[in-house]
């Protein structure tokens, strides 16, 4: 019970982090769909979707950073490392927190491709291909983050169950 209390404030931060991260991923899925066969209205919507996606991912990054540096290290990491799945921190969380850093740069480059491409994205197949590829990559990486986050949560949950 005491262990569960220790992870509570982290959970309050990790919810908005996960929500914003997944909203960012969905915004880039929207971008991908708009870019499959772009015309002027679709290009405008893709620009909006990618800008929203970048904003969501940056907010998710900020909340994740605050949670990771203020509560995760003191409240969650020791619980996971004392539990039956210590690799959930040592491998999964360590990889997740650093792979995450790559996503905003890819997202920004993708949004810049749409913004700067302008009407060219309707006729330049190579530019359109690059935007489709980068938006799909953002979606895949966001869902990878969600999967890795589930493993970290499982590490904490099994540790708390072992303590109970």
């Amino acid at each position: 019970m005491e262990g569960a209390g220790r992870t509570m404030s982290y959970q309050l931060l990790v919810g908005p982090h996960a929500f914003l991260g997944e909203a960012g991923g969905l915004a880039f899925l929207w971008t991908f769909v708009e870019m499959l066969k772009p015309d002027e209205p679709r290009a405008r919507r893709a620009m909006l979707a990618s800008a929203l996606g970048v904003a969501f991912l940056i907010l998710s990054w900020a909340i994740a950073g605050y949670a990771y540096t203020t509560t995760y290290g003191t409240q969650v990491k020791p619980v996971i490392k004392a539990g039956p799945l210590p690799w959930a921190h040592d491998v999964v969380m360590e990889a997740k927190e650093h792979i995450f850093l790559l996503i905003p740069f890819i997202a920004f480059a993708c949004a810049a491709g749409i913004r700067l491409g302008g009407n060219k994205i309707m006729v330049d197949a190579r530019l359109r291909f690059s935007i489709l590829l980068l938006s799909a990559l953002v979606v895949l990486l966001v869902f990878l983050m969600a999967g890795l986050g589930f493993i970290v949560s499982t590490g904490a949950r099994t540790a708390l169950e072992a303590m109970a």
Binding site: Y68, W87, V91, E94, H98, L101, F105, A109, R126, L133
Partner: protein, 104 residues
């Protein structure tokens, strides 16, 4: 060069920089210690340095002509492929590095 490829180049280099900085900080405790003392937490340091690096390369590639020979080397499609390859390779390298670091 006022072209999206300037940001593709910046993303590619920022991805490689982030992966190298992460592995360098784990391999060399002095680097991790410096990040911690300079930024309060090593992860904040990596985030700040990677963002500054991305911004600097973006500005140099987009606002000046200094990097035009590199930016213009490939079309946007090929730049996209290289960014995707760099991201996939960096993600796999980081995962393998932390697995080896933990289990060996």
């Amino acid at each position: 060069m006022r072209d999206a490829r300037a940001f593709y180049l910046a993303a590619l280099l920022a991805i490689l920089f982030t992966a190298a900085l992460t592995i360098g900080a784990e391999a060399l405790p002095a680097v991790k210690g410096w990040l911690k003392s300079a930024f309060g937490h090593h992860w904040v340091g990596k985030s700040a340095l990677a963002t500054a690096f991305f911004a600097a390369v973006s500005a140099a590639a987009y606002c000046t002509r200094a990097l035009d020979p590199i930016v213009m080397r490939w079309d946007a499609g090929r730049w996209g492929v290289w960014v995707a390859l760099a991201a996939a390779l960096s993600a796999l390298t980081l995962l393998a590095f932390f697995a080896l670091h933990s289990f060996l």
